[in-house]
């Protein structure tokens, strides 16, 4: 894989994880209330905009990435995002990592590594 491909892969990973965590932070704020007031509260704070910005950038990074690698390989390498989200959720939102989750995370990570080194 070329340097550009690796850079796009990492950028996709960071933007996807950052976007999801920002949306989680926006949606999980308990002071936000309900209904329309909740949306007003969320839109007046930065997190939801950080999330949207990440997703817009990710859209372009992902197209660029997929145009440079075979699609089957790209979609397998992109699975690493699942791992990043779960690990970040553990540290930032204190989500539990049960043995079954850890097994799943390790299997996905090993699979991505096998595909990545084989490419």
């Amino acid at each position: 894989m070329s340097g550009l491909v690796v850079a796009l892969w990492i950028a996709n990973l960071v933007l996807d994880t950052g976007g999801q965590l920002a949306f989680k932070a926006a949606a999980g704020d308990e002071r936000a209330g309900d209904g329309l007031a909740r949306w007003k509260y969320m839109l007046a704070r930065p997190w939801i905009w950080v999330g949207i910005g990440c997703y817009v950038a990710e859209f372009l990074v992902w197209i660029a990435f997929l145009s440079l690698v075979p699609l089957s390989e790209g979609v397998l390498l992109g699975s690493i995002n699942i791992v990043a989200i779960m690990v970040a959720g553990r540290f930032l939102f204190k989500e539990k990592l049960t043995p079954l989750r850890v097994t799943g995370i390790l299997l996905v990570a090993v699979g991505v590594a096998v595909v990545g080194f084989g490419a």
Partner: protein, 132 residues
């Protein structure tokens, strides 16, 4: 009700697959990759990019209606198992070679997704038990 889920999960996979195939087609059309307005113009001048956007919207709406009732575990698995359909289609549509390392990696990734789906299911069952 079971049929509703099956159709829902199949639709989710289909929209995700459509999204990825269209992304690939639009991206190929816009090559070479460069950080420029010209590249952006090439991406958005190609009809496939709008197919990708349809895939996004369709997947989002399907996901939201599924989550209203469906258990999160199988929903999670269905939302990530498009790797299987995408690999099959890339081999068929783009004549991409499927190598042994790719198959080994794919099997590990799919097994991992299935584990995570069961982990979500367990968690939901235990929170249900607590609230019940």
């Amino acid at each position: 009700m079971k049929r509703f889920y099956l159709i829902g999960f199949a639709m989710l996979m289909a929209f995700d697959t459509l999204n990825l195939i269209c992304f690939k087609l639009a991206g190929n059309h816009a090559l070479p990759v460069e950080m420029s307005v010209e590249w952006l113009a090439r991406v958005f001048s190609h009809p496939w990019i709008y197919g990708a956007i349809v895939g996004y919207i369709g997947a989002f709406l399907t996901w939201m209606s599924l989550l209203k009732h469906a258990p999160i575990g199988p929903a999670f698995a269905a939302s990530h198992l498009e790797v299987i359909s995408v690999m099959a289609l890339s081999w068929w549509m783009f004549s991409e070679p499927v190598t042994v390392t790719q198959i080994i990696g794919a099997v590990a990734i799919i097994a991992g997704i299935v584990c995570l789906a069961f982990a979500e299911g367990d968690e939901e069952a235990s929170t249900d038990a607590v609230t019940a």
